[in-house]
């Protein structure tokens, strides 16, 4: 039973990488001979161990952990009027709910300079922390940014802060590909896509100024369809984001794309951003098989024509539709050396691959060297779905979403489906 499950896990790993992972281009096989272990239902590299510290807490989106070990989890929808849950781990490895506050659903949560920042789908708030990093006044947050666009689709406002007093907020495009009619077969792209004025990018605001609107902020980077996972890379002092690539190439342009191409394309991309960058949505997408920026079919593309325009290249690319919802640069000392300064990515799992089997529902490790992705990505924690069959059908038990690093160098993974929080440690 156990070995069969492990074999199934390895097979899935292999199959995804072979399809279109970066493994082949490097002339290496992504298949590690390293043994995997099963722990708390997850499959991990040998020497690692997982525990479920909390369960059923609600739609657990992003997560932040204090040096004192308090864990703040942002819920997608407030539960009993509480949209932020505070957990504290006991000696038995189980966390208890210490408190809850913030009557708003949302995704973003981040701690910086004595404040806890949290976002709803329209606003960003912050709460002052005491010297133990506890929220002093849970009922009186400062409203830092208000009135960001929320038109249901790609509504989450992920947040991160830099070291110079700036707050970065994702505003996702309320559209798949800026068509005249969203997701409609054959409908073409809107000229000079007007969505980009107020969405489809990352906005920068002051971290300490209240009641800012669009006009007070800067559109830091544009042409990003929807970013959920993002992190500040401390080594490079630079913003990294994970874009959710567009959906439905075949559904919308059945004559240009096969079902299989549509399941695999386009890439989910990691971008290293500088102020003023344009990642090209909706005019292009990145094809990880051709390794090219391809003109979107809504704007005259045919699957081969390359994009025209000054668009940046991704730092790394991953197979389509796996939905990267969490990004974390690992700066701890607990894990083996190879993990240091590399990136963990939580892939929420796909839906847009049907009728092909779904993929994702795992946490990937992307090695970095000298501040750049280096070497092939590997599946670090697998089997959040519960089984191969669940992965294939998309009926996953857990869906990885947020990532955070704890004070001892363990990492935490949230699941917004069952409301589970996993802790992964290296034991050796």
């Amino acid at each position: 039973m156990l070995s069969a499950a492990v074999v199934a896990g390895l097979l899935s790993f292999k199959c995804i990488d072979h399809k279109n992972g970066p493994a082949e281009e490097n002339g290496q096989t992504a298949q590690k001979t390293e043994a995997t272990v099963e722990s708390a239902g997850l499959k991990l590299p040998a020497g690692f161990q997982a525990t479920i510290i909390a369960d059923n807490i609600g739609r657990a989106r992003h997560i932040a952990v204090t040096p004192q070990g308090d864990i703040y989890v942002k819920l997608g929808r407030a539960k009993d009027g509480k949209g932020i849950v505070v957990l504290h781990e006991g000696a038995d490895g189980k966390a208890t709910v210490k408190s809850g506050f913030g009557n708003f659903g949302g995704t973003g949560i981040y701690i910086k300079n004595g404040y806890l920042y949290a976002s709803s789908d329209e606003n960003v708030y912050r709460y002052k922390l005491n010297d133990k990093n506890e929220v002093i006044n849970p009922d009186q947050p400062e409203l830092i940014v208000e009135g960001l666009i929320n038109r249901r689709q790609h509504e989450s406002k992920s947040i991160v802060l830099d070291n110079d007093g700036n707050l970065y907020v994702n505003v996702g495009a309320y559209s798949n590909s800026c068509q005249e009619k969203d997701r409609q077969r054959g409908s073409l792209g809107r000229k000079g896509c007007p969505i980009l004025d107020s969405a489809g990018g990352i906005w920068q605001f002051k971290a300490d100024k209240q009641k800012q609107h669009y006009g007070d902020g800067v559109r830091y980077a544009t042409g990003l369809r929807n970013v959920v996972g993002l992190d500040w890379n401390q080594q490079l002092n630079q913003l990294f984001v994970m874009q959710h690539g567009r959906d439905q190439l075949h559904d919308i342009f059945p004559d240009l794309y096969t079902v299989k191409q549509s399941a695999e394309l386009p890439a989910e991309c990691m971008y290293a951003l500088k102020k003023g960058d344009n990642a090209g949505w909706p005019y292009m997408y990145y094809d990880q098989i051709q390794h090219k920026k391809i003109m979107a079919p809504e704007y005259g593309g045919d699957g081969k024509k390359e994009a025209e325009g000054n668009f940046i290249d991704p730092a790394a690319a991953y197979p389509g539709h796996m939905a990267p919802n969490g990004l974390l640069f690992y700066t701890g000392n607990q894990f083996p050396e190879k993990y240091k300064n590399g990136a963990f990515i939580a892939f929420h799992g796909s839906w847009n691959r049907a009728p092909e089997p779904q993929a994702g529902y795992f946490v990937v490790f992307q090695p970095f060297k000298n501040g750049k992705p280096s070497g092939e990505w590997e599946v670090f924690a697998d089997n959040f779905s519960g089984s191969q069959a669940n992965t294939a059908s998309g009926a996953a038990t857990h869906r990885p979403c947020g990532l955070a690093q704890g004070p001892d160098g363990s990492i935490y993974v949230t699941d917004d489906s069952k409301g589970t929080v996993f802790k992964i440690s290296y034991k050796k």
Binding site: R152, D182, A354, R399
Partner: protein, 152 residues
Amino acid sequence: MRAIFKTAIIAAAVSTTLTAAAQHKSKTKSGSKAAKSSALISAATLANGQKVYGQSCITCHMVTGLGVPNMNPPLAGSPFVTGDKTKLIKIVLNGLSEDVEVNGQTYSNNMPSQDYLKDQDIADVLTYVRNNFGNKATAVTASEVKALRGKK
């Protein structure tokens, strides 16, 4: 609640398998068994409905008919599917983007209009979803679809 949901999933999965098996049988053998669970609905209707589902609905509502949490609603166990036909046909003809609640949950994606489908194909796919994934309801006809085309 949780337990009920799980049962629904299992029921949906089982019914999918059964329907598929029934259709398979009906194709290879006599055709008498397919209609067992839904009298008066022909195997050909269900087969065409399944085909259209696979081409036009499956990406969002999934193989299982369970949809995607928070994003695309389930057709399995949905009152929209087994309820009023006029409303149901209009959803497929005109699309939907108004935060409908299905069994207490809302969904953030947009459903595009599927009006490029022929009347018969819309009728068959709706008959199929009304009699699959654990659902059971009367058939939808091409003339019912035709009557609602162009009506918002």
